[in-house]
């Protein structure tokens, strides 16, 4: 048994790969080729079946708001902002922020669509409310 990591293939460290795709303008997530489920957050093995046969594929980028909150913050510190859990059409959920409507007007069940933004601490996926 070899305990070393194979650095030669396309599948590098999962977290870095996720960010690399975002920086290239693509919202990709891992799929398990054994049980066919989508995985988030990025991992080295499938939490549904244990397989390590994972591949990066484009996400639909569409989903619905599963829950939402407004983090209250003084205007001089940037004001209130939204934090939501989005459930992608593929079924996985992630924490994100819904943009395009005021934070307090984000509703559970609202359809949303992914957008990639880049901030000081790295790239991230935001979701825009679909009219």
């Amino acid at each position: 048994m070899l305990g070393m990591i194979d650095q030669s293939g396309a599948d590098g460290a999962p977290g870095a790969t996720y960010d690399t795709w975002l920086l290239a303008g693509e919202f990709r997530l891992q799929w398990c080729t054994s049980c066919a489920k989508q995985i988030f957050y990025p991992r080295t093995l499938c939490p549904h079946c244990g397989s390590v046969e994972l591949e990066w594929r484009p996400s639909s980028g569409t989903g619905r708001v599963y829950s939402t909150t407004v983090v209250r913050q003084r205007p001089d510190r940037g004001g209130d902002y939204n934090v939501a859990i989005v459930e992608l059409d593929e079924g996985t959920r992630m924490i994100s922020q819904v943009i395009g409507v005021p934070p307090a007007e984000v509703r559970i069940g609202m359809p949303v669509s992914a957008e990639i933004a880049t901030r000081e601490d790295g790239p991230l996926v935001l979701f825009r409310a679909v009219a």
């Binding site: 599963y66 983090v71 934090v83 939501a84 924490i95």
Partner: protein
């Protein structure tokens, strides 16, 4: 030994509290030391007789070593499992197993914190979520709360009723930190932190320490006139981060509760008094439902009826809870101590008359892990 033999096999013979409220100048281990001294005295033991140590905190990465050294103990068994605020309720199970196996004779579960006067570092940030700046832990509980309101029509007034009930109990407890009268309107008018949770939906931030000593049932009567027996205990976990919780309105208490009840041979209707980990008002609703005290979605109406307040048919958080008595970051040990107080019949003005069975429920992480423990007086064996 099988699961069926745990029921009644161990008992709490000593408890201690220290530093509740503001203990400026003291360290978390100073407060822990005082609580342990009181528990050891309560149990009629010398500190040197403690040979099992179960402890966790948010400061020491090596908690059993830091605490053991401070107390001058070199225990035969030391367990420092940290799953957050439920840890100490979970420790009760492992302490009981170690006692039953003969690995130790006197198990000490203990905790100290200066979360108010000298706050520690925040827990590890999760890379895929910290980017969105949730205000943790409040935002995670707010997300669960918003979904409960959406699915079941739970109202902010019903959540406020949890805070008001806790305050009414606290007014009967001289040890409680917040004892001023409180109304539903005042909770609703308090500053919003992370919708729909406002300031008074959130627990206190206090200092405080607690200690609990268990021994095998055959030894217990030598140490305390009224040993309080462990009847059942179980833990279940579902996730670490709130986005990975399978259903935001169903916690792992729906697993830990039935397992603890099965071990105890009891049903929810057999429980006389409940201590539910109330870091936020929504917790109490979720745990009442998941532990089987009402159907899913009906806890809001239950608490609004006054059932959990003093004089109600289902006394909950009789010390005032984390909302009004004490919350130093990890509240679980205080659920055990208040359960024991009620079963000993020494709870003073807040005593639930004739309480023979008590449930202590601990929550850890972001609704991530749940431990249910059921205790009983000697006549319940």
């Amino acid at each position: 030994m099988t699961v069926g033999t745990i029921r009644g096999s161990t008992a709490v013979i000593g408890t201690g509290l220290a530093g509740l409220g503001d203990a400026s100048g003291f360290t978390h281990l100073d407060l822990l030391g005082l609580a342990v001294h009181r528990a050891v005295t309560d149990a009629g033991l010398a500190l040197s007789q403690i040979d099992g140590l179960f402890t966790a905190n948010m400061v020491n990465i090596l908690p059993t070593l830091a605490v053991g050294e401070y107390l001058g103990l070199s225990p035969k068994v030391a367990v420092g499992t940290n799953t957050g605020g439920n840890s100490f309720v979970d420790h009760v199970l492992w302490a009981s197993l170690a006692l039953n196996a003969g690995l130790c004779d006197y198990a000490l579960i203990c905790y100290g914190s200066t979360q108010r006067s000298r706050p520690g570092p925040p827990p590890d940030a999760f890379p895929y979520e910290v980017r969105y700046k949730p205000r943790e832990p409040i935002s995670s509980y707010a997300l669960a709360c918003a979904r409960h309101m959406h699915d079941f029509g739970t109202t902010r007034e019903q959540l406020a009723a949890v805070a008001v009930s806790a305050r009414q109990w606290a007014q009967l407890n001289p040890d409680a930190f917040a004892r001023a009268p409180l109304t539903v309107d005042e909770v609703l008018a308090s500053r919003m932190i992370s919708d729909p949770l406002s300031l008074l939906d959130c627990c206190l931030v206090t200092d405080g320490a607690g200690a609990v000593i268990l021994t095998r049932a055959d030894r217990a009567p030598d140490h305390h006139a009224k040993p309080i027996h462990l009847l059942g205990c179980a833990t279940a976990q579902t996730h670490r981060q709130i986005s990975q919780m399978p259903d935001l309105t169903v916690t792992a208490a729906a697993q830990s509760g039935p397992r603890a009840f099965e071990m105890a041979g009891l049903r929810p209707s057999d429980v006389d008094v409940l201590q539910l980990y109330d870091a936020f008002t929504i917790n109490v609703l979720l745990f009442l439902e998941d532990l089987g005290f009402c159907r899913k979605g009906e806890a809001g109406a239950l608490v609004e009826s006054g059932a959990i307040a003093p004089g109600g048919r289902l006394p909950v958080n009789t010390n005032g809870g984390g909302l009004s008595c004490v919350h130093p970051g990890m509240y679980g040990i205080f659920t055990i101590i208040e359960a024991v107080e009620q079963l000993r019949g020494t709870a003073g003005e807040r005593q639930v008359p004739g309480a023979r069975t008590a449930l202590a429920h601990g929550n850890g992480g972001l609704l991530s892990v749940q431990t249910t423990a059921i205790f009983g007086t000697p006549e319940t064996l």
